[in-house]
């Protein structure tokens, strides 16, 4: 009930802020709107997390997985695009559900940007990684059972991440959403998309068994 309430509070605010911004910045309206939508759509997840009873152990494990994914991103700084962040987000989601997945994704973005630099792209990364985690949580059953589905999801999440970030690039540079320009951006970023997808597949295949085993062990040992 409370969860629903928070949605009701959020939904009128989104259009209100968007309209206010659109009036103020008519030229860059779309960039503004997208930034707001992305940021505000994280809020219901945060509020739901805030309201729901989470056991202390899960809370600490979410923090630990977030820290691990940030460290992964730091370790792999020399290889642009080749990052284990998505893998950790998906794994958390698979073992602790969609909400934990969203949190790990969004928080990883915020925290790693303390090291890499915050900017208007932060909300976009928060949302992208968050939603990748959320969907992975919804599909956790299939992802755990079937390696092929896991790989497909790894590729999908790489492509989705790249395409979501491209929206921002186009809006930021042009101020409006031009489909041909967007396609150009998608095409020009294709090598990154491929690196994302490949790194996701590699890390998920590499991590899913051993880390899955560790998480199962923890879950069993401390009955979570």
């Amino acid at each position: 009930m409370k969860k629903r309430l928070s949605y009701f509070i959020i939904f009128p605010i989104i259009p209100a802020v968007v309209i206010a911004g659109a009036v103020l910045f008519s030229e860059k309206m779309y960039a503004w709107i997208s930034l707001c939508v992305v940021f505000l759509s994280c809020i219901p997840f945060f509020l739901a997390f805030e309201k729901r009873e989470t056991s202390v152990r899960r809370l600490v494990l979410i923090a630990a997985m977030t820290a691990l994914s940030v460290i992964g991103r730091i370790i792999f700084t020399p290889l642009p695009g080749f990052k284990p962040v998505t893998a950790f987000v998906v794994l958390t989601a698979m073992y602790f559900g969609p909400q934990a997945g969203f949190m790990t994704g969004a928080l990883s973005a915020v925290i790693s940007n303390f090291y890499f630099g915050q900017g208007p792209w932060t909300p976009f990364q928060m949302f992208s990684w968050g939603i990748i985690g959320f969907i992975a949580g919804l599909l956790s059953g299939q992802l755990k059972k079937n390696k092929v589905i896991l790989c497909i999801y790894a590729v999908f999440s790489g492509v989705m991440y790249s395409m979501l970030m491209d929206i921002w690039t186009v809006l930021w540079a042009d101020g409006y959403f031009n489909i041909s320009r967007y396609l150009m951006a998608v095409v020009s970023a294709v090598q990154f998309t491929i690196i994302y997808a490949v790194s996701n597949v590699v890390f998920l295949l590499l991590f899913s068994k051993p880390i899955g085993k560790m998480l199962d062990r923890i879950k069993e040992k401390y009955n979570l």
Binding site: V60, L61, I62, L107, G119, P210
Partner: protein, 286 residues
């Protein structure tokens, strides 16, 4: 500047960045860029200055030049390149984007210097306390895990299990150490949760403590910010600051918003400079 209440600081940063990023008025953007440069000069170490100039100046030109090469809008062609017109408007627009982009980047840099994690957590802690606690824990874990990674890799090296013969060996060795660290961190997280439970985490009515206060200084700064911002936003809403690049560059009309925003983006510099002068004065008296 960094000793003001984080909420005031956050509000200020957001306002500057949003206005300079989303309005297309060159006066507003240039004053934001100027404010950003001056602020950056104060908050970053003087040893970094050369590196920053070496990074941002070329960056500025790259951004400025790419636009006219790709965008052929505009009514005043300067010359033709491969049969496409390169227009004056596109050149100017490219410059404007560069001013805006560099300005925003500089402000984000200042933000990172000023809004340290504890300030960020304070803001989050007031609005979403549970999330902020998770953030705080993650921030505590990161250096701890880094240290553990180092320990493990040294222990493995001394057992001759950490090989660096080839690239694949190296990657495999890294991966082994990383996995050991993951396992260690998950096991250790249980003790953290016990310590939290032992200290009553999960009881009803949790409060949030922070070192930051909202004092008279903060109130004054906030008032100044709100007034200057109000004048600026009024100017934007009424269309006084409206500006176009295409098809033809429009002319600038005078607006009070320019003066207000000029002061607004120079605020940190003014505050810092004032304190520096005062400091010197006191030192000279001693």
């Amino acid at each position: 500047m960094k000793n003001y209440n984080p909420f005031v600081l956050m509000f200020y940063f957001l306002a500057v960045v949003i206005i300079s990023a989303f309005s297309e008025n060159p006066v507003l953007q240039i004053s934001a860029l100027l404010g950003g440069i001056l602020f950056c000069a104060i908050v970053t170490k003087s040893s970094e200055t050369a590196g920053n100039i070496g990074f941002y100046v070329p960056m500025f030109f790259i951004i400025a030049v790419t636009n006219p090469l790709f965008s052929h809008n505009g009514a005043t062609p300067l010359f033709f390149l491969n049969g496409n017109p390169v227009t004056l408007e596109a050149f100017v627009y490219g410059g404007a984007i560069a001013v805006m982009a560099i300005g925003v980047m500089l402000w984000c840099k200042c933000y990172s210097e000023i809004m340290t994690t504890d300030k960020f957590l304070y803001i989050f802690g007031k609005t979403v306390p549970k999330l902020s606690l998770v953030l705080s824990m993650a921030l505590k874990f990161i250096p701890m895990y880094k240290q553990q990674t180092r320990r493990v890799s040294r222990a493995q090296k001394a057992m001759g299990l950490y090989s660096s013969k080839s690239v694949t060996d190296k990657i495999r060795s890294h991966a082994r150490v990383f996995m050991a660290m993951v396992s260690w961190s998950l096991e250790n997280s249980i003790e953290t949760s016990s310590s939290m439970k032992a200290r009553g985490y999960g009881l009803k009515g949790r409060t949030n403590f922070a070192l930051f206060k909202f004092g008279a200084d903060d109130l004054i700064l906030l008032a100044v910010i709100v007034i200057l911002l109000g004048v600026t936003v009024f100017g934007i809403i009424t269309g006084e600051t409206r500006f176009y690049y295409y098809p033809r560059i429009s002319t600038l009309k005078f607006s009070a918003a320019y003066i207000a925003f000029g002061f607004f983006s120079l605020l940190p510099f003014i505050i810092e400079a004032k304190e520096a002068i005062k400091w010197r004065y006191y030192v000279s008296k001693i």
